[in-house]
């Protein structure tokens, strides 16, 4: 009976799901660009309306349902990356994705112990410093991060030495300032 479901039932369910998702994609893409327009324009409601209309037309022009979804998603990621990290003005797709991941990591891991957040940021920095021409900006990503009281960094192409001082709130309201050090 189990084999029956795997061989017959699963493909049917999957194909129905894929079909449903592809029908849903244009609608989802329009939702993405509407949200992206709000984030992009921030407090400027008139500009936001303009962008929503304009990007809505782009979604209509994009061929294929999945393409529409991808285009809409890219606008959303781009808008988030643009305004969550205000100093970021680059045009690189790498940085758009990295900023989004960084923002996601910061907002979704608030309940994680500080040492895990430190590890996540270290991993991002470690990766970023390996992309030619972006090392300095990678350091900038971490500055102003509320998860850390201080960040000491000595980075070059050959060697990276980082000292993080994580912010962990204690019941007394004092901060844990234990150093977490790694070298590469």
């Amino acid at each position: 009976m189990t084999q029956f479901w795997i061989v017959i039932g699963l493909p049917i369910i999957l194909s129905l799901l894929v079909n449903e998702l592809s029908d849903l994609s244009p609608w989802l893409a329009r939702r993405f660009v509407a949200r992206a327009a709000i984030i992009w324009a921030r407090d400027d409601a008139a500009r936001s309306d303009e962008l929503r209309a304009e990007w809505g037309a782009i979604i209509e022009d994009a061929p294929g349902k999945i393409t529409k979804l991808v285009v809409g998603l890219r606008f959303l990621v781009g808008a988030v990356a643009r305004n969550r990290v205000l100093w970021f003005t680059g045009d690189s797709a790498f940085w758009t994705v990295l900023d989004f991941c960084f923002w996601l990591g910061r907002t979704s891991t608030n309940r994680l112990p500080a040492r895990h957040r430190v590890r996540l940021v270290k991993w991002i920095l470690w990766t970023a410093l390996r992309v030619p021409g972006h090392g300095v900006e990678a350091c900038g990503l971490l500055l102003g991060n509320p998860d850390f009281d201080a960040l000491r960094i000595d980075a070059s192409r050959e060697k990276i030495v980082m000292s993080f001082v994580p912010r962990t709130e204690r019941p007394t309201g004092q901060l844990d300032t234990g150093d977490d050090h790694c070298s590469d």
Partner: protein, 112 residues
């Protein structure tokens, strides 16, 4: 009077090149994205810069392409912007200079 770009990146040149290839035709958003080969947010950041610099003007389509569809917004190089864009491309991408002038866009442009 058009301003000079403060940062000239590869995506910036791609978008400028898309306009030059359009040979004076207007381009809508999707046409620019396709012609430049860059993502939507990247293109729009550059379009905002080009508009602020006075290289590009924009206008809304008078009527939507189809009923209940959103209207497109068309972009076009200004006279001064076109001159500076050609100059910039000839400096930064000299190998493409002759090809650029000979190409026409495969899709997109409205005409006025």
């Amino acid at each position: 009077m058009a301003d000079e770009p403060t940062r000239i990146t590869a995506p910036f040149l791609d978008v400028v090149e898309a306009f030059i290839n359009a040979a004076g035709d207007e381009l809508h958003g999707w046409a620019i994205i396709k012609a430049s080969g860059r993502g939507g947010p990247t293109v729009y950041k550059i379009l905002e810069r080009l508009t602020e610099m006075g290289w590009v003007t924009a206008r809304w389509d008078a009527e939507p392409a189809a009923l209940n569809k959103p209207r497109r917004r068309y972009y076009k190089l200004t006279g001064d912007g076109a001159r500076r864009a050609r100059q910039l491309l000839s400096e930064r991408r000299p190998a493409n200079g002759n090809v650029v002038r000979g190409l026409r866009p495969a899709f997109g442009g409205g005409s006025r």
